[in-house]
């Protein structure tokens, strides 16, 4: 019997909920021997309740796809999954063609953004150094910002870091809180899928042997019913400076609603010139 691909071995299931040992796109790619897009053209249950599916490959990113059927094996837990006939998927698979709830496969919905597919394509074309999330720099109405997405180590929920430096008052003030419109305002917001944490909750961010402490703030984004962890003031510039010389940020923190965040790594390897541009902007 062949062993399951590594990513499936990371499953941690119980009777109540399926918890996937999550991974970002880079991790999924590295632990899968076959990465490809395909249209699922047919699927059926066998007598044991397992699913067998037919597929037509549309694009290959990795591997030679040494199987002609996709298969699930029922575990009787909430980690059992299904498949939909008709749409195109991005598949991350081992050499058995088996998939599960935690395989990381994604449906491509026509008309919807597919950042992970775009990243796979740019990586395949040699336009990006790796598959970690890209960093984006932009100017808008008197401020500059730097943003990247990241995932925690144990689940697949996407979070993001958004840094902002306001070098001039905006022509069209957006925020009701005046301080957010003042030149010199800066922030680094870590937006996580948690709406409530204790007032004294903190995140420790380690970059280039320096630690920064982001504090929980309920009003990080006015008008939104959720809080975020944030750095502010001089820490923002110092944090951005540290990013220039570090290939990753390690996140430490023990959160009530989002414990899996502890140990998350935010990579800077796919930043291009974005961090440099933000540091230049914040030092103007």
């Amino acid at each position: 019997m062949r062993i399951l691909p590594p990513i499936l071995l990371l499953l941690a299931c119980d009777a109540l909920a399926c918890t996937c040992a999550g991974s970002d796109l880079k991790g999924q790619y590295e632990t899968s021997s076959n990465v490809f897009t395909a249209v699922v053209t047919g699927a059926r249950f066998d007598d044991d309740g397992n699913i067998e599916a037919d597929f037509e490959v549309t694009e290959v990113f990795k591997g030679n796809i040494p199987f002609d059927k996709l298969r699930t094996t029922r575990s009787g837990t909430t980690c059992d999954t299904s498949i939909t006939v008709g749409p195109e998927y991005v598949f991350f698979m081992g050499d058995e063609g088996r998939f599960g709830m935690c395989s990381g496969n994604k449906i491509i919905v026509p008309g919807r953004p597919t950042p992970w597919l775009d990243l796979l394509r740019t990586y395949k074309a040699g336009e990006t150094p790796d598959l970690s999330s890209p960093w984006k720099f932009r100017h808008h109405d008197g401020s500059c910002s730097l943003r990247t997405d990241f995932r925690s180590t144990e689940d697949a929920v996407m979070s993001y870091l958004n840094m902002e430096y306001r070098y001039a008052a905006p022509a069209s003030p957006l925020w009701t809180a005046e301080r957010l419109n003042e030149a010199g305002y800066s922030s680094a917001v870590f937006m996580l899928p948690t709406r409530k944490e204790p007032a004294d909750a903190t995140l420790i961010l380690k970059a280039r042997d320096r630690e920064f402490v982001a504090t929980w703030s309920d009003d990080a984004l006015p008008g939104r019913s959720r809080g975020a962890f944030r750095l502010s003031g001089d820490d923002v510039r110092a944090f951005a400076q540290a990013l220039l010389y570090s290939d990753k940020v390690q996140v430490k923190g023990s959160l009530e609603r989002y414990p899996s965040l502890d140990g998350t790594v935010i990579r800077t390897t796919n930043a291009g010139s974005a961090i440099v541009e933000f540091v230049d902007c914040a030092n103007r």
Partner: protein, 211 residues
Amino acid sequence: MRKFVLSLLLQLPVAALAQGTTCTCDRDELLANIRDAETIFYGSIQEARMDSADSDTILLTLKVSDPIRGKRAGPVEVSTTLPHSCGVRAMLGMHSLYVVTNDSEPVTRCGGSGSHHYRQGHELYDLHNLVYALITIEYADSDPQMVRSWLSRTFSKNYTRREQMESFFGLIGELDTETIITVTENELIYRNLVFVFTDDILIDYFWKGQT
């Protein structure tokens, strides 16, 4: 006593959202299709395959878990279209409502098929109880236990608000145009089914003549 009045909101066109694809349906046509359908059931997909002759068509083999109208047993074979053409999502094992007009017509979300109970857009909100409404209509007289079992999944005593029940029976009134639904200060009555309210909260429901 006042005659039940349907909300004007129920007359608006609906947009069925599923799997990220918008499918704009005419609500009146959807309900008319359900009224006229030969076969309606709640079931799950056992096999699905794209039609080799038409890449926009998916052939489904369905297991009937709860017959509602018409065919009562055995696997049912129907066709649907891809989601962007308002077809039913062909996810293996997924339970959905199936409204079959006739064997040669594909089942579609605009025909009433699909998983309406997944609330995916406010336009659909009043249809998210469609399967419960159909079960209530078809079994109110013959199998109160079945209706009770289904309704208990979505309406709770001491929790459900009167306006929710009135919305639900507004939908029933559109599907069952021959039965008069009466609403009193404390009760909503449909055939022998009586819902009792206190302070606009559902506190009980029962069948007249049954304990």
